[in-house]
Symmetry: C2
Subunit: 407 residues, 2 copies
């Protein structure tokens, strides 16, 4: 006898569950399409090597589902969509017209212990803008992320947009801390984990990398160190760019934007502005989603850089957020009407009624089981069907019928 459980860490979507999922997807689609983004898609199967170059060591080695196919190829279930979209854009870089506004809602796989907000399979809205090297791209992408939160009904005091810059971090690491690229990567990954480790451990680990890195340069706050660091042109330029993005967003009326020097983001491929949407409810204090600029990623396929800014927004974290704010609409079946024939003699008229209501644009189920009417009504109501039409001798004779409201 087989077990009816799904595979560990993945979800079954019964109609009521899929209703919520579709609400999230529809809100995503409506918002990003209103900004002129068009949808693309790809397979969940990708050559493993696609992730080895730039995704970050932890993600590829420890967390990716991979296997060898019968032809000896190493195949991965995609853990993220950015390498795929980079591959697709790189493949047609000569034919595509830039700027390119693209989105997708792929399912992604991570092999990790299932926990709240982290499943082995989840869906993620991916939005990317290719071909714009200036901060107009960051501003558009972050405004769009903000607009999505608004369209879900989130208020400014529900969340915060935290912004930083990989360019600025690298400039500080390089010029101020005097780290080599390898040390910079190590320090960046350490900062990424900072919130999840004891302060003392962080200090010890940071000190191992560099004495200077021990005194974290918080460029969100004005300080003597910071003033000194700003003498380096590379640091100054990156900071000016970051300030310009924040200022422009505030000018658009987006007030909940803050500079966060501890924000680094996990993926290796970011090159410029990075951002995260943060849930500021003290009971649910966590990153909801984020993104940033990754101008170099397409060069792994050869050819020149293509400027790119994007973000990914997961369905599970979004659903948790919406639940905690009571922003999920109640279930409604896509089936609007049930037509029921009382007996064999009413069958043909019942069929014609169902056809007529369908022709009028309604979604209509037709039951020709001749079971007890009270029972059929109870079952339809339980399924969330809004109305029922019962067809018997009388309706057949008169040609008239009524819709009974089931709510």
């Amino acid at each position: 006898m087989l077990n009816t459980d799904p595979y560990k860490g993945v979800r079954d979507f019964y109609p009521e569950d899929l209703f919520v999922e579709k609400y999230i997807f529809d809100t995503w689609r409506k918002t990003v399409e209103s900004f002129g983004y068009v949808e693309y898609d790809a397979s969940i199967l990708e050559p493993t090597e696609l992730y080895e170059a730039k995704s970050g060591a932890e993600i590829v080695n420890e967390q990716t589902y991979q296997f060898i196919d019968r032809g000896g190829r190493s195949v991965a279930l995609r853990p993220e969509m950015t390498p795929t979209v980079a591959r697709m854009v790189a493949a047609r870089r000569r034919d595509l017209s830039f700027p390119l506004r693209w989105y997708s809602i792929p399912n992604l796989f991570r092999y990790e212990r299932p926990q709240r907000g982290r499943l082995r399979e989840h869906y993620q809205l991916n939005v990317d803008l290719f071909g714009i090297p200036s901060i107009e791209a960051e501003i558009e992408i972050i405004s769009l992320a903000y607009k999505i939160m608004q369209n879900f009904g989130a208020k400014n005091n529900d969340f915060e947009i935290r912004i930083s810059s990989r360019k600025l971090l690298n400039a500080v690491f390089n010029n101020w801390y005097e780290l080599n690229p390898e040390q910079s990567d190590t320090l960046r990954r350490l900062i990424d984990k900072k919130a999840r480790m004891p302060a003392e451990e962080f200090q010890q680990e940071a000190e191992k990398i560099s004495r200077k890195a021990f005194n974290f340069l918080d460029f969100a706050k004005d300080s003597a160190d910071y003033q000194e660091a700003m003498a380096f042109p590379e640091i100054r330029e990156a900071k000016t760019e970051l300030d310009a993005v924040i200022e422009s967003l505030k000018k658009q009326g987006i007030k909940n934007v803050v500079l966060d020097s501890h924000l680094v983001r996990g993926f290796d491929y970011y090159t410029g502005i990075i951002f995260e949407i943060f849930d500021i409810d003290p009971k649910n204090n966590r990153s909801l989603f984020g993104g940033g600029r990754y101008d170099d990623l397409l060069t792994i396929f050869g050819g020149d850089k293509i400027p790119a800014v994007g973000f990914g927004m997961g369905d599970v974290t979004m659903e948790n957020f919406l639940e905690s704010r009571k922003l999920i609409p109640p279930y409604k079946s896509s089936c609007e009407l049930l037509v029921v024939a009382m007996d064999e003699g009413s069958k043909e008229f019942a069929e014609s009624v169902a056809e007529k209501e369908r022709a009028a644009g309604k979604n209509v189920a037709l039951n020709l089981t001749y079971r007890k009417i009270a029972d059929q009504i109870k079952r339809a109501a339980k399924q969330g069907i809004a109305g029922i039409i019962v067809i018997g001798e009388e309706e057949k004779k008169s040609g008239n019928y009524k819709i009974k409201d089931l709510k």
Copy 2:
């Protein structure tokens, strides 16, 4: 330098490709929802054992992607959806209200040599009606399949609905050919392959199973053998049921229904009426999709039988069919309008125009790159965007602007 090809046998969906895919999915959704079916979904990852019981040996052993996860579990990428929906229904059989009209559009995986109409990953509409033991279920499901073909613009002389019955086949194999269940399975699988092997080989193989099976009983045609076989009550009953389904469909105006005694369908789990929609174009003579009754499948999870009738309809075969009949609509970008600012000075007015058009329900991209206007127009037209608004000094002063048609 990384290759930009997708994994072998799967597809990248650029916006133009996804447009076709969405057209197919939308037509599916619209039609099945009009019959009152509601959508469900599940993960592509399933325990391998789910397929071992009933899917058919060839499919599980030779054609399924499977691997062992790090927890030692054998996992499969689902090769078909029916076992999943059976699992989901079985898991909540006490809470669900029957009849249950469910559909899904899952992606399915088969490890086989890619060829026309057969990829390693494809999407398939799955429609199932649970809880109706009588032929009303078959009639509804086959009418719905017919309606889908109509809604794609297919004519009656484009395709044929071929119908048979596993119950009838089994009754003939058992009573007339006097085969045991194992021999019956072997013969059924042989008939399934008949069209793909030389006639002589089929005869030789059939003779190995039974002398009697050598003379194929074609119950689609009246013959002395057939008259004799009809003396067996089991055969007679199954044939009467099959005739009743065909008659009822014809009465509904579905004229292209034929009884096909050679139709057996690949999966082991069918128990009653089976059917296939066949492309009757001589250049493309092939099965488009099919389904049937599978009343026993849910018992693999324990508990009683649940009557079930359903079908699966693939996107690749459907797209080939639509292409051959020129039934695919031309590409239209979901982005309807591009707003372009000529210079920094026009930026704010351009932003307000984009906002205004979005508020009016339009999907609007906004370019603040200040590149050559002629070039931006060319690129927008190439992307399939329908219209462009250029904002410069003049528009800013007057507050008026025009939409330029790009088609």
